[in-house]
Subunit: 282 residues, 2 copies
């Protein structure tokens, strides 16, 4: 496994691989790798010959009061995980390597970035789309792999790729969960043991929403209330949103029909967690 810290070096190694006829798969991450990331690496290995994992805690997608400084950076562990799972190349640039004296150029996706997390994290998706555009241009992958846990991010990036005719395919992989249902996230390690226990309620609440949809409940407000009621039973959870939206347009869907995204964001203590399920509401 190679580890590159410069754009020039990544380009050289990817070019070599391509000249040998390999297809290139990119898994963009912020590190602190967990089984969710590993599932992306495995999905990439199933479809590509040369697997690139980028590890970059991207400053432009964090708000000023968010957790950029304390975001975990266990680089040695991350490299060991990549090596264990057959990654060919890890790209770990510095912020200076990625942004130099500061970029003036932004890639912005309108409309899809306004609801859900967009309401609570102004500028977040602009940072995500800009850094992904950069990573795609640096690595030039045939495929790039993202997790369904960040559902809005996946929709936004898919749309960016389509709108800008970027020459790659976006693959979105299922959310990987702990045994009690909590979605794997690098931020789970912020949770105290008691908060960690409470966090399992998020998925329970989503599953209850799914059950209600399958029982024929079509009223989006009632569904949101039912999910909210379960989350409110846990005193440590502060709700940001419960939204039931079209899985592609991310617009509110009421009555609930077709493929819907049921998405939740909460704070537990100072930790922000998101989760979602996609349900075919018929």
């Amino acid at each position: 496994m190679e580890v590159a810290t410069t754009i020039t070096e990544v380009r050289r190694l990817v070019r070599q691989a391509r000249q040998r006829g390999r297809t290139i798969g990119l898994v963009p991450t912020m590190g602190a790798l967990h089984p969710g990331h590993v599932s992306l690496i495995e999905a990439a290995a199933g479809r590509c010959d040369f697997i690139v994992v980028s590890i970059f805690v991207n400053p432009t997608q964090f708000g000023p009061s968010e957790d950029f400084a304390k975001y975990p950076r266990p680089i040695e562990q991350d490299l060991a995980i990549c090596k264990d799972h057959g990654v060919d190349l890890v790209f770990t640039p510095s912020a200076e390597e990625m942004y130099g004296q500061g970029g003036l150029t932004w890639v912005e996706v309108e409309r899809l970035t306004s609801p859900l997390c967009g309401r609570f994290r102004p500028g977040h998706f602009r940072g995500v789309t800009t850094v992904c555009a950069k990573l795609f241009n640096i690595v030039l992958p045939d495929l790039a792999f993202f997790g369904q846990k960040d559902a809005q991010q996946a929709v936004v990036i898919r749309r960016m790729v389509k709108d800008l005719n970027m020459p790659l395919e976006i693959v979105v992989c299922p959310t990987v969960r702990e045994p009690d249902g909590l979605a794997m996230s690098s931020r789970n390690r912020y949770l105290s043991p008691s908060h960690r226990g409470q966090a399992a309620t998020i998925y329970r609440a989503l599953r209850h929403g799914e059950d209600e949809i399958r029982r024929g409940v079509k009223d989006a407000g009632k569904l949101a209330d039912a999910i909210t009621a379960i989350l409110r039973q846990v005193p440590g959870i502060a709700l940001q949103y419960v939204s039931i939206v079209d899985a592609e347009s991310l617009q509110p869907k009421d009555p609930v029909t077709g493929e819907v995204l049921v998405a939740v964001a909460v704070r537990i203590g100072s930790t922000r967690l998101i989760d979602n399920i996609v349900v075919d509401a018929g």
Copy 2:
């Protein structure tokens, strides 16, 4: 020479050329080709093996009161010019092929797009950068060629390519001029004979500014006044701006030192014309 109207077809033909080891040069145009464009094609032929010219009157770079509808579209003449000059592939997409049901994604360059034409054409550069990002992603050229006549556009696109790590080189070619000095432009054909005569004053005024700089005038305001005075002698000319800025940052430069861009925008009748010169002010 091949002519493609679809993205799929362009990609197929470029991929073929690349597989034969050809380097790819792109000349993005809005058609109505003139000797300025021909000089770009010739520059591309000098450095690349496979020349792609795109002809697309890009709606997103025109303001609502601008000349999108009347912009000249002499496609048969344009194809003949391309063929005569050894172009390998002309890409003439429809607006629907380029934007489908309407894109949500924009590429924006901050700061560099605010002064000069940015003040008079809000949204223009956003349209330019977005369509260029799309064309670059569709054609995947090694080099793309732009004219110095659109100096701010060249600076903005160079910066976009750098900031987003786009894998191509931008080549900016000298302005081509009529015998009386008027910069070649597709919009020159809007001019009535009397306006056409007046239009030569623009370059005369720029040259006067250059002479003043070479004579040691460093005061940007005085230089702008001297240029303005010449333009004001022509009653048909309505001035938009005379600006003396740093050639790279496009920020005002006073006193005038180093590489400066002396740029002018005017209206003659209903036709908007721009021109510029770069002067090393020492």
